[in-house]
Subunit: 358 residues, 2 copies
């Protein structure tokens, strides 16, 4: 992390030894003793202490109990690795609503919280003053690192520069940083679109309309671009005349379905930019007496259960694995804290969830 | 909180003075100087530092900047008030999904984060081992207090007893503690139900059916009980035969609407236990050619925008003010930290949002 640890930081750091304050046997016990008492391998014990490994909470708890019992303190090597660590990480969300950022946050909390790492939650509501205030606060706390997430897949500018921030590893989740020197973990939009389109092609659909959100949203623009590109490769071609930008709403899905069937009655499938649009399309088709999927297939995006399962019929849709994005962002951050940063954009694959609408 | 502050806690505590590490003018500046430089009253400056007051972030930031500039340190009185405080609060959610707990958490984060209080997020996923692990971790962090929230309004047992927890104030939000000696902040279910029923009566509805979730959920049981009670008071009476327990789903709302109109075709209003059920009812009525609200009015509960706004027509519904529940829980906690605990159950009023369905 390049910065010299202040003396009080060592005091503040909740290193595993804090489990046994005032212990007199400090330094005597070895990691091997802890591992033996906990009944795990030395490697597992080490991972449990570094907070970077994955294991069942019970296992980690056994190791932490052994640390407390033996008054174990990490050896010089571990000390130098962890000197100055506060064992806290900041989770900054710009999304007051949280439909997208919540699963990302919970995934990150899951990966971090399993260890002795605590998570400081900050909601900036997309407000620059709040962001600055929270960042100063996180720096006062001497967090080991920061994860930033938002509600959109559009790239966002790096965090407001605040004195001291440059010394702290930051990982951007879901909304990548515009600075490619930063570390970002995003959803594989091209891959997700490809899953949906290939699924429709495999089921024999050839005249596919794409109905999506506002063109100024990357999620709408990119998925439309990849859908057209992929269908062109397949030789079928989704004439760009069949891409319809609008809103992320059911009402738009209903309007678009009617418009599409007026102008292109031969349409045999709708690939939609999100599940709300797909649900609106499915409703409009049902109300026109069109059978889904027999006559026309409908595929959504997000696997937002509220929408996908309540839809009639339930929606085939693309799941972005948001919790996994948060988990991977947390692991990249833990690596960066150990001086093993991996800058650039990391993509997390999507999965297709097939239901009755296709 | 009755416990003696350990020396390192003072070092650890991020008191406002931490804004000016190593300042040499420590102790010289008075709060009045800070207030003057920030251009606010002494009272406002004090509130900004205690983190317990409400003010615009810019105002608080000006005070904090003044503190840093002057190297101000709180006086003896403030010191004794804040000795041993870590200026961190634990937010424990048992709700991995978060539709209900997220707004509560954000409301609490808003009230706490505006000050120098940091929020440690813990998600127990309703798992006892995770809860214990997180609580031990929060105690290691010497949090000043803990807010607990969940996805249901049913009372929950107090937090798993962990050594040291008894010394820390805890406030339960949305899901009250079964121990009435604890402090809980909950939604005013009787009041919310009354708002919905009175609205329907005021619009001339007299034959009101109530369709809600599973009877073993307090939210379903209580709202049904209060609806019946209130209609009996009004002399109209909602025969309990008109209360229909089922699931919190649109599919149940659709099935229930059909069943109700078969057995009680004179029904002129549906009061539903949540917005998903209400949306299902509205869909079923529309598909039967019944005009909402001209023929039959529909009122939901939750004001979950995704459901209420996408419904045809958009739903009149009861808003529980979840963010306000979180904000009040945070304020009760801050009072408890200052030894002004207010045990018992505090209710937050609901508001009725009137839309086209009634």
């Amino acid at each position: 992390m390049g910065r010299v640890a202040r003396p009080e930081e060592k005091v503040c750091s909740v290193t595993p030894a804090a489990g046994a304050p005032g212990s007199t046997s400090a330094g005597r016990a070895r990691l091997a003793d802890v591992a033996a008492l906990a009944g795990v391998s030395v490697g597992t014990a080490s991972k449990a202490l570094s907070g970077s490994g994955r294991m069942r909470p019970e296992t980690r708890q056994r190791v932490l109990d052994a640390v407390a019992t033996l008054g174990f303190r990490p050896n010089q090597h571990a000390q130098s690795l962890h000197a100055g660590r506060s064992w806290t990480v900041g989770l900054v969300t710009t999304d007051g609503i949280g439909r997208f950022s919540t699963p990302v946050l919970l995934g990150a909390e899951d990966a971090l919280g399993a260890g002795k790492i605590s998570v400081l939650l900050c909601d900036t509501r997309g407000d620059a003053i709040r962001e600055q205030h929270h960042l100063r606060n996180l720096l006062d706390r001497r967090v080991d690192g920061i994860i930033v997430t938002g509600r959109r897949t559009d790239a966002r500018p790096p965090l407001t520069s605040v004195a001291g921030l440059e010394a702290i590893p930051v990982v951007y989740a879901l909304s990548p940083s515009t600075d490619t020197a930063d570390t970002s973990v995003v959803s594989d939009d091209p891959g997700g679109t490809r899953l949906a389109v290939e699924h429709l092609l495999a089921s024999g659909r050839t005249r596919i309309a794409h109905v999506t959100g506002p063109e100024h949203h990357a999620a709408a623009r990119d998925r439309a671009h990849h859908a057209v590109e992929h269908l062109d490769e397949s030789g079928l071609g989704l004439s760009t005349g069949r891409v319809h930008f609008g809103e992320w709403s059911e009402a738009w899905g209903r309007r678009a379905a009617d418009a599409v069937l007026r102008t292109a009655p031969d349409t045999d499938a709708f690939f939609c930019g999100n599940d709300q649009i797909a649900r609106g399309v499915a409703d409009a088709l049902r109300e026109r007496g069109v059978n889904v999927p027999a006559d026309i297939a409908v595929v959504g995006y997000d696997n937002w259960d509220t929408m996908a399962l309540a839809s009639r019929p339930p929606l085939t849709t693309v799941d972005m694995n948001l919790a996994e994005i948060g988990r991977i962002a947390a692991l990249r951050l833990l690596e960066a804290i150990e001086d093993e940063a991996s800058p650039g954009v990391h993509t997390v694959p999507c999965r297709l969830v097939v239901r009755e609408s296709s």
